[in-house]
Amino acid sequence: MIHGIPITHFLIVSTVMFFIGIYGFLTRRNLITMLMSIELILNSVNINFVVFNKYLYPDQLQGHFFALFIIAIAAAEASVAIALIINIYRRYTSIEADDVNEMKY
């Protein structure tokens, strides 16, 4: 529809982004990188919202607004997460997730 690009192309991109995010979240040890992976996951979802809105219900706007809200929340979440990470660094002089393991049995 957007200049003849079919919906599947967008969905493939968002799926790939999603699983890259999951993979990064599970394998990386650096908290900043993990945070970036989460942003990837969120943005892949955003793409899905916008695409489905555009292709399936072109005369409505819910999907776009949902995406806007998610962007705002992601910004808030990132600021909180970075504040946490800074505090963790002050305490442990490290931002490796493996070093922060005191909350256990």
Binding site: I22, F25, L26, A97, V100, N101, E102, M103, K104, Y105
Partner: protein, 638 residues
Amino acid sequence: MNYFYSIWILLVPFVVFIFTGLFGNRFKPFVSGLIGTTGLGVSFLLSLITAWKYFLVAGITGEAYPSVIAAKTTWLQLTDHLKIDLGVMLDPISVMMLVVITAVSLMCHIYSLGYMKGEQGFERFYSFLSLFTFSMLGLVVATNIFQMYIFWELVGVSSYLLIGFYYERPSAVAASKKAFIVTRFADLGFLIGILLLSFYTKTFDFAELTNPQSPVFSRITSVSFMGLSVITWAMLLIFMGGAGKSAMFPLHIWLPDAMEGPTPVSALIHAATMVVAGVYLVARMFPIYIAYSPNALTVIAWIGGFTSLFAAMIACTQFDIKRVLAYSTLSQIGYMMLALGVSGYEGEHGLGYMASMFHLFTHAMFKALLFLGAGSVIHAVHSNYMNDMGGLRKYLPITHMTFLVACLSISGIPPFAGFFSKDEILVAAWQHNRLLFAIEYVVAGLTAFYMFRLYFGIFWNKMPHYHHTPHESPLIMTIPLIFLALGSAFTGFIPFGRFVSADQKPFESVMHMSIAIPSVLIAIAGISVAYALYRQENATASRLVRALGMSYKVVFNKFYIDEVYLFVTKRILFNLVSRPVAWFDRHIVDGTMNGIAWVIAKSSEKIKGIQSGQLHHYALAFVSGAIILVLIVLYNLS
């Protein structure tokens, strides 16, 4: 006639209780005492006004005294027609009781100002006295049986508090617990009786429950259980509650021990008011007893007769003066129960009912006087035991004279009050059952004997060596004595039948000389025996004791009833019931719970490694969980 003000008779003591209970420690103790006494004075005046208006101004409407509902409010609406009210009902017996309670209570309040002076917890004592007075007044004016039950329990609680007033003393604590548990056990019967009765009649209200023609009884008379109709069971169970409070055999064991409380408490609660609550209860329910369960009345008559004989025999052997008076109380209440038991309903046949209420009235006067006099003696010699007393007539002239009046009154010597009421009871017993009459006859002699044994033992006999010279009590203690002595001497001339009767219709009672003269003779015989044995110290009494041997020992130890109770509770109940139940509780119930806790503790020990503290483990678990959920959803949808 508007009696709405009569709720203040109850409310004033209640307000005084709250006030002195909360703020009593802010003032000097004596101020609390004065507040309590003043409040009671107001109640007493209001009761007198009520009695005057009820009996003399309003008087009879139609041919009977009416039952007036002075105030009423619905407290608990259970169903459309079953509700619990709180209110004030005035009829001849409740108005009479108002006067008796407030009069005796006022005397005890005044007396205690002197007797309890300087005691620890003086204001606590007054606050509890007010609570007791409030509960007792609420009991007598109850408009329905459930209100009566509520105040009945309040009376039990305040009695418990007052018996245990000297709570540092283990014996007082034991006595208060014993009184509470025994009466509470009896009240269980009372409650079951109320529930049975209200289940079949669908009402708690005395207006319907005391009217034998009322249609509410149509169902209950036709139902029977174990060969007795349900109404007989209900009335017997209600009587069980009354027997517990009035200390009838075999639930009498708490009353002698209750003498551990301060003496004014014994005078007020354990002689004049609370212990007659059982009599009052039976009198209140009397129309149903007579109409639907005369069998229950027969039981009441025999239990009353037996208790009066039994207690009179024990009273002859005791040495603690308050215990002698306690057993004498049991015996006199036995008289009242018996009189109710042998009474009929209409007119002249209701003589027993009238006599019972009359005796309640006069007994409250002379027994309170006896206890307060005994308190005055104890105050002077600091001992409860007759052996430590003697020759006190010179030192305590007012106590001596008033005590003598009370002794003559209880022994039934004319023209003192006790003579008239006891004579009516004997006449009622004579008309109904000759055997009961004979028992009461013997008891009349015994009463005269043990009272004058006490009198001669305290005021005559050999004077022991006193550490300091006994002195007469202060004026504040002797004034109540004099007032009550006047009551004991002259209240007998009240034509009681004109005011109180079973069907609330007045009648004239006549003196039966053929019964009065022998009863006076046997009383004089009892006094003469006491005179011979105890007027001066002599060996006759101890020789008599030796001659009686075993039988004296049995009576002296109160027929071993306490020991029987201990045997039943400690040996039988404890070993056969409590122990196995305790074993079951410790091992089976607790064991199950401990087992569950053990399993959970062990398994959590094994799986606690899951919480590793590694973020990646949690993330992996979360993601795999999400994937599994997605797979399940997809699989189910397809």
